[in-house]
């Protein structure tokens, strides 16, 4: 996984994101496992809690799994262009409307962030203090959130009217100009991975039996 990430040039971002995202869960996993896992070899004691070797082992195992999951999801997100992904789905049969909504949602995030910033500016220019304490910030929430919601709704309204003029509500399939190349070795690799997954799952199950 990490090798692939290095290959795609996203290793650093991936590591940073995975660690950041898994951190909260990781901390609670470590705390719970280390101190409450039934075990015989006690390493040290804090109050009524015994930290066992078995606990540490279990925690370590769980952390590795957690890391594996978050890096694989992260790798996918960082290396796939959402547009290409969604339109490819459409080519394979997903409804065009769903495809559009998926892409539009993803692409809407930067606009939303930008809009929130502009709204923040307008309100700060009227004296809203966004640099103060918690209570001040809470009070300032409505003037910041209100316009974001309203303008986003107006935006959606305007946008959907404009789209009607381009036949977005026409039922039926479309002949897309985009095509994601699907080379035979890529397809082969996908089957191989699927087979490996099935094999690993079987091994787990039969190993346990």
């Amino acid at each position: 996984m990490l090798v692939l990430a290095r290959g795609a040039g996203v290793l650093e971002r991936l590591l940073r994101a995975s660690i950041l995202l898994s951190l909260p869960i990781a901390i609670s996993v470590v705390l719970v496992s280390v101190f409450t896992r039934a075990g015989t070899t006690v390493l040290f004691t804090i109050g009524p809690f015994d930290a066992t070797l078995e606990g540490v082992e279990f925690a370590a195992q769980t952390l590795v799994r957690l890391f594996a999951i978050s890096t694989s999801i992260g790798l996918f997100i960082l290396t796939t262009e959402p547009r290409a992904f969604v339109f490819d789905l459409e080519r394979r049969g997903v409804s065009p409307r769903i495809a559009f909504i998926a892409v539009a949602t993803i692409e809407a995030v930067p606009t939303l962030v930008e809009r929130a910033a502009i709204i923040g500016e307008s309100q700060r220019a009227r004296g809203l203090d966004t640099e103060g304490g918690v209570r001040a910030r809470l009070r300032g929430l409505l003037p910041l959130v209100g316009p974001v919601i309203i303008t986003s709704l107006t935006d959606v309204e305007e946008r959907s009217l404009a789209l009607e003029s381009r036949a977005f509500s026409r039922p039926g399939t479309r002949y897309l100009l985009w095509a994601m190349p699907d080379r035979s070795w890529e397809r082969g690799l996908r089957w191989l991975l699927l087979a490996a997954l099935v094999a690993a799952a079987l091994a787990r199950i039969t190993g346990r039996l």
């Binding site: 709204i119 500016e121 309100q123 700060r124 220019a125 809203l128 203090d129 640099e131 316009p147």
Partner: protein, 275 residues
């Protein structure tokens, strides 16, 4: 009394865009200044430095000779009120009255002062009858006037208007002109960013033309719209007013407004650019 000054101000956005390059500008108290230039010339970036929304990458911004670097936006808002272009980016209250009251309330005025400020601001923009209305029941032009009123109510010594006439119909523009006259008449500084050259020529005594992050022309309308300045205007994709063009064609010198042109034709005199 608030004199505004930019000393060697440069600004670079986080993405590397250079928006201002070493701008030196002084705006004495009580002046009516219009800032013009194509989109991207640095106009909006410049005015956002006045209340600290943006801080210079180089140089200083001064209010009455004091650097504003350490002061918070919330504090500077009491001196410089900015009404932004899109009213919907600001309106959040359910009633016109509450929207206009927001600014003065935040500035710490008492209930009586707030009420007085709201009444006078709404009257100034012609929305006195809509005080109990929901802002979104007003059309776009009136919402723009509402946003304008909310900043007016803060009674700041300096008032900055970002594209006040864009999207307005003729009545709305006349209203904006009347308010600019009013505010300026009471001795406050009015700064406006605008694309409407006629509005600029008619309502402002000084025009600052920006191009590519710099001030490329700075003077009264008679100078800025005079034929000699047209190439400079053209470099930032601006055109002189219709009246200026006709006046130049007829050899009448510089006639930035229709009133100037008519006056010149009537009296047979030629208006020379001043300064």
């Amino acid at each position: 009394m608030t004199e505004l000054r930019f000393e060697g101000v440069s600004f670079v956005y986080p993405d590397g865009t250079r928006a201002l390059e070493g701008v030196d500008l002084e705006i004495p108290h009580g002046q009516r200044v219009a800032i013009v230039g194509q989109n991207g010339s640095g106009k909006s970036t410049l005015v956002r430095h006045l209340d600290g929304l943006l801080r210079p990458t180089e140089g200083r911004v001064l209010h009455d000779g004091a650097d504003i670097a350490g002061r918070r936006v919330a504090a500077l808002a009491a001196t410089v009120g900015i009404a932004f272009q899109n009213p919907d980016r600001q309106i959040f209250a359910g009633k016109v009255r509450d929207e206009v009251a927001f600014g003065p309330r935040i500035l710490g005025r008492d209930a009586a002062q707030v009420a007085a400020a709201v009444t006078s601001a709404l009257e100034a923009v012609g929305l006195a009858d809509d005080v109990e209305a929901n802002p979104y029941d007003l059309g776009y032009s009136r919402r723009k006037l509402l946003a304008f009123a909310s900043v007016l109510a803060m009674d700041t010594p300096v008032l900055v208007l970002d594209e006040p006439t864009t999207g307005q119909d003729a009545r709305g523009i006349a209203r904006v002109q009347a308010v600019v006259d009013d505010v300026s008449g009471s001795g406050r500084t009015v700064i406006a960013i605008s694309h409407d050259m006629r509005f600029v020529a008619e309502s402002f005594e000084r025009v600052v033309v920006m191009g590519v992050g710099r001030v490329i022309l700075d003077g009264p309308p008679t100078e800025v719209f005079a034929e000699a300045a047209w190439p400079v205007l053209g470099s930032t994709y601006l055109e002189p007013t219709h009246a200026a063009r006709v006046g130049a064609r007829l050899g009448l010198g510089s006639t930035p407004t229709e009133a100037d042109l008519v006056e010149s034709l009537a009296s047979g005199t030629i208006v020379r650019p001043t300064g």
